[in-house]
Symmetry: C2
Subunit: 421 residues, 2 copies
């Protein structure tokens, strides 16, 4: 059986794998192997003569290396896993550095549609599929710096988030030494990455919590659209856009930022926010729209126009009422109301079955990215906590804040500037 | 705000909705409305001049009405929900009939990409998307017949499944009076259907258990492929195919079947089977392949050939060993070994986070369809229970058996022949 064996001694370089061929099939002339199309297998020779174009979903490939880590400025994928790890007893700076080196190597291979290197044999779960826009993003929580003797290099921005009056947080599903965000447009590719990265952690770090979420499938709508959440709202319209002049400045720590090792990095606020869907869905449509300040059908502001028309917070109706109510979510969260505070929301919906009360355990795995939580999430959530009409319909159930270092340069691993700096 | 109001008095006929337009955009000449493509909204007039072709994933549409219910012979979708209901105290035959009528009406609308009729306003979760190959399938468990005074019409095939020695079943996640299987290639379309159907049940039936699963996204592979499961195996190769002469006979109750109201119906065996992935992944590849009797890379039988080559159970290696081991899963489960017993496996993978022991709570929502469980699942599982090499790596954690009536004819609802016959 040796001829078809996938086993590979640890450390032996990976030959061009099936998945690598598939992963680059978008490039002109690349040959892909077809190993058994439904209804009739093709031999390798036949396949070489008819290289298939990898369908769009599988072909999507995002770069691992760069100034920033992937999974931040690029669009959220159809499937996401958020997983926090705690370092094992006895694991310190050295072990953490080795782990981040292994993780970076695995992430780079996985994002290229290749098997992760260095282990006896791959699980094979992602075989046949292309990279499917996989991204892997690494972050460190506040506790990481104590455990690794690096407290002196901990960013001031990692101060614990303040408590909010509406919080109902589960500590077991909050915080964590290390964090990985995985996103992909195929569920098996995402699960494959999760397993591969968990295996690399064995002995060094154990899973503290893990949550899975989703967004619309590519191709489900007639053209690319702003996402909807499980309340049925168009969600993401007024996000900072990569084309905005101040996008980099809002989302990423500058090259001369503080601490130095966070240059090109960002801070991720993760909140598991359950939606009280039974209550929400009983609300008449007009009330639902008032709560947000936007139309449900197309996301247009209640002050008029279409989805992308700027919200006119001063606009009044013929009756003299504010068109966008005083407690409407988009008013209370807008930069204008918060001294310019803004963040990039890149969330996944979640649905973990039903609760004992018959309501679905569902909502938003809210992930907000910013250069500084004190000029992003914190002031906005403070304001929302006091006066957001949406509060009646949601519960914040878990919370975490992570420092997400800049992207790995050539030959570097994520976090190297912290761990070896 | 009346002009954009989605509210609609109960019972008023639905006008051609946005989603209906989208849903039929595959048909030549149908015009779709674009309500805010990312990066710049188009007015309705501009859109009318440039009708977008609904992307393939969203455009998929399966018929609700027919001899058989949908969601059985058609390919499994990327997202699935299995949900069991128990009738509320006091709900009997009349209420069950009214519920199945409401459910059928809702399912037909949802599968056409329309809003479900008859409620104040829709949740809007599926707005923008096409039907995305949504299917909704209804079934009845053994207890349904007692609760509705229909014990005399209960099919003999609904006898409880026998206990198996390897069972570790959770009664709270097993059985149920009623069952719905939902599948769609978009996660929001699937969740939307689940919520809409749950709302129709309010007051009549409450959720007993609910599980969610997934399969590969359409387009993630270079060409349509047999699915893989979370053990990394090609799974589904030797399923009965619609083109097989005996497909109908194996999977569906014949037109003159017993009981009469089950004509065109089928029996669904649902098993939640957890995979012990930590144990499995430690196994060398050659061992993994021996356990199944097929190659992991491409699903080809160990007796030789490619994925679709028939398994040669008699074949021996040069050493005189059986090429497909005596306890290999494909030998023990094959029709040849089981007096011809066969079923259509149409499963979803599941992954519900991590367990306390650090292993993922993941595996197969195994759904097997057959005309008679005693000539399908039962004898095969009896045999597997005694001698399947795979048993070491899996745990059956929940079990249910449902009678799934034939499809609804014009003007009929699913189950009408039972409830009004
Ligand atoms: C389940 C909880 C939440 C839901 C359902 C929700 C929903 C929405 C919706 C529908 C919009 C309007 C469309 C858009 O511009 O994206 C919006 C805007 C926004 N939300 Fe939320 N949101 C939630 C939680 C939060 C939280 C926790 C924050 C931050 C603390 C936040 C910050 C914002 C911001 C900054 C905007 C843009 C406001 C503007 O500039 O117009 N949201 N949200
Ligand atoms: C997690 C549990 C299971 C896994 C991972 C699994 C996996 C597989 C795989 C990889 C194959 C070979 C490819 C194919 O023909 O589809 C297969 C075949 C098959 N399995 Fe399973 N299986 C599981 C449980 C079951 C159960 C519970 C039954 C029925 C009681 C079953 C019945 C069959 C049958 C009938 C075949 C086709 C055999 C043939 O005709 O060649 N499997 N399974």
């Amino acid at each position: 059986m040796k001829d078809h064996h996938l086993d590979r001694p640890a450390g032996e370089p990976t030959g061009p794998s099936r998945r690598r061929l598939l992963g680059t099939a978008g490039a002109a002339g690349a040959a892909g192997l077809v190993l058994g199309a439904a209804g009739g297998a093709l031999g390798a020779s036949a396949a070489a003569e008819r290289p298939p174009a990898l369908a769009t979903v599988g072909a999507g490939r995002r770069p691992f290396r760069g100034v920033h880590q992937p999974g931040i400025a690029d669009p959220a994928q159809a499937h996401g896993h958020l997983v926090a790890f705690d370092l094992a007893a006895g694991a310190g700076r050295k072990e953490a550095a080795a782990l981040l080196r292994r993780w970076s190597r695995a992430a780079e291979a996985l994002m290229a549609g290749e098997e992760p290197p260095g282990r006896l044999h791959d699980t094979g779960i992602a075989l046949d599929a292309g990279p499917s826009s996989l991204t892997v993003t690494f972050g460190m929580g506040r506790t990481f710096f104590d455990r690794t003797g690096l407290a002196a290099r901990r960013p001031a921005a990692l101060e614990p988030l303040p408590p909010f009056s509406s919080d109902a947080l589960d500590p077991g599903r909050s915080d964590g030494d290390l964090w990985i965000q995985i996103g992909a447009d195929d569920s098996l590719v995402a699960f494959h990455a999760l397993r591969a990265l968990q295996r690399e952690a064995a002995g060094t770090a154990r899973v503290r919590w893990q949550m899975s979420g989703f967004n619309r499938s590519p191709g489900a709508t007639a053209s690319p659209r702003t996402a909807r959440n499980l309340m049925g709202q168009v969600d993401g319209t007024n996000n900072p856009r990569e084309t905005d002049e101040d996008f980099e400045q809002r989302v990423f720590v500058p090259a001369d930022g503080d601490p130095e090792w966070m240059a090109g990095g960002s801070y991720a606020v993760v909140r598991r926010i359950r939606m009280l869907l039974d209550d929400w869905e009983r609300e008449p449509l007009a009330e639902q729209e008032k709560v947000i300040g936007r139309r449900k059908s197309d996301g247009a502001p209640l002050s008029g126009g279409t989805e992308t028309t700027p919200v006119d917070l001063a606009k009044r109706t013929a009756d003299g009422d504010l068109a966008v109510a005083a407690d409407a979510h988009v008013r209370v969260s807008a930069p204008e109301t918060n001294g310019g505070a803004a963040m990039l929301r890149r969330s996944f919906s979640y649905h973990d079955g039903f609760r004992d009360d018959g309501a679905p355990d569902a909502g938003l795995l809210f992930v907000a990215w910013q250069a500084d939580p004190l000029r992003g999430f914190v002031p906005v959530q403070r304001k929302l906590d006091r006066g957001d009409a949406l509060s009646r319909f949601i519960r914040h159930e878990a919370s975490a804040l992570f420092a997400v270092p800049g992207g790995a340069g050539e030959g570097e691993y994520v976090g190297q500037r912290l761990l070896e700096g």
